[in-house]
């Protein structure tokens, strides 16, 4: 959870003031369906479950998003190989670069 606070602070530094966080797949899907977002960062693994349902919900609503993961492999999630991936731990610059290109 300290990671989340750091990410929120990094995002605030980058100018993203309104950040909503969800800790589980169910919570994330509910949040995505309940509000309009400019972008999303999706951890491939949420509380032990694969976060594919969240990716599907984001794709359905056309929300630009990228993945965060600790894994090293090329393939992150079936059907979403075209999305950007940020590897944990990541640099603030990397976060900024990906968000900039997503929101261009």
């Amino acid at each position: 959870m300290l990671i989340l606070l750091m990410i929120e602070a990094m995002l605030a530094d980058l100018g993203f003031e309104s950040v909503t966080a969800a800790a589980s797949v169910d919570q994330a899907v509910a949040v995505v369906q309940g509000q309009v977002f400019d972008a999303a960062i999706l951890d491939v693994n949420l509380r032990g479950s694969n976060s594919r349902p969240v990716a599907d919900a984001l794709a359905l609503r056309g929300v630009p998003f990228f993945f965060s993961t600790g894994n090293h492999g090329e393939h992150v999630m079936d059907g979403y190989d075209d999305r950007a991936v940020l590897r944990k731990p990541f640099k603030q610059d990397g976060l900024g670069a990906i968000l900039t290109s997503l929101l261009r």
Partner: protein, 348 residues
Amino acid sequence: MTGKADKQRDAEAEVQSFKEKLGPFVVAAETTRMAMVFSDAKQAGNPIIFANDSFLSLTGYSRQEVLGRSFNFLMAHGADTDALALIEAELSGHSDKGSEILYRRKDGSEFWAAIFVSPVRDENGNVVQYFASFVDLTKHKDEQAQSRMLIDELNHRVKNTLATVQSIVWQALRTTSDRDVIRNSIESRLFALSRAHDLLTRENWESASLFDMVNDALEPFGVSDGRAERIVIRGENVRFPPQAALSLGVAFNELATNAVKYGAFSNETGSILIEWKIDRTGDGDRLILHWQEKDGPPVTLPSRTGFGSQVIERGLAHELQGTVRLDYRSAGLVCTMDIPAPGTASNG
């Protein structure tokens, strides 16, 4: 009667004569737990002319169903050119270490086997039969898959731990340039994280008891200079899963650090009561926990939300999917947690 059936009978007769000549060796081949077949190298498709009991139980076929069938009939993907090439290499003696092939049993289930083939030659050196043994690799493959999963899980956890350490350092560097303050901040949080890991390791990373978590988090702050009697911890036996346990360890460390700097442990008389209960009245059990300080110095509202209070009110609440509130009451700080009771409660 077809010519093929005649040849099959001739081949089986050869095996029968081997049996009569070689007695004990044949018994060994028949009864060994290593699955084995002989095939007729002089016929197209390498028909099987002998199959031992182990082979039959490995594949689920009866002897009649196997004798006369082509050597490759077992393959799960009979058109797989790579697999066929491997078997060709085995048959021509160009492979010395066996080949892994995916086979299919009579019931349709698939299994990996290592196949070792040796040619049987006559007096002129011509290959008359092939002798093949099969090693069932199912258990080996399962163990390999299990290892890969554990290593992936380990990598996942280590990356998360590194990112957590990054957060700790990052935060320490943000609020001050005083090197001692930075160092203490990093050390204190790192060691809290490390203690939480130790507790989980003692419990084989299954779960941790809330009592142990609170006790462990307070231990560096309480015991050394006789503060033990100034802490009371009370509540029924509740256990949390690993990720929640790590977050609680970090949060209790923040509360304790704050108590030492500004709260009930910053003077001689203050004390802390930590108690919890499970509220079973609503739909879904809730765990209600109070961290209650008293007899410390007069409490003043902090001028801005420090990182510690963010960790407690936002970070922990997010992690546990409940609400966490800090009340700066004049009698002493009170922290109230209202979260879903964890499913691993031993009396749940």
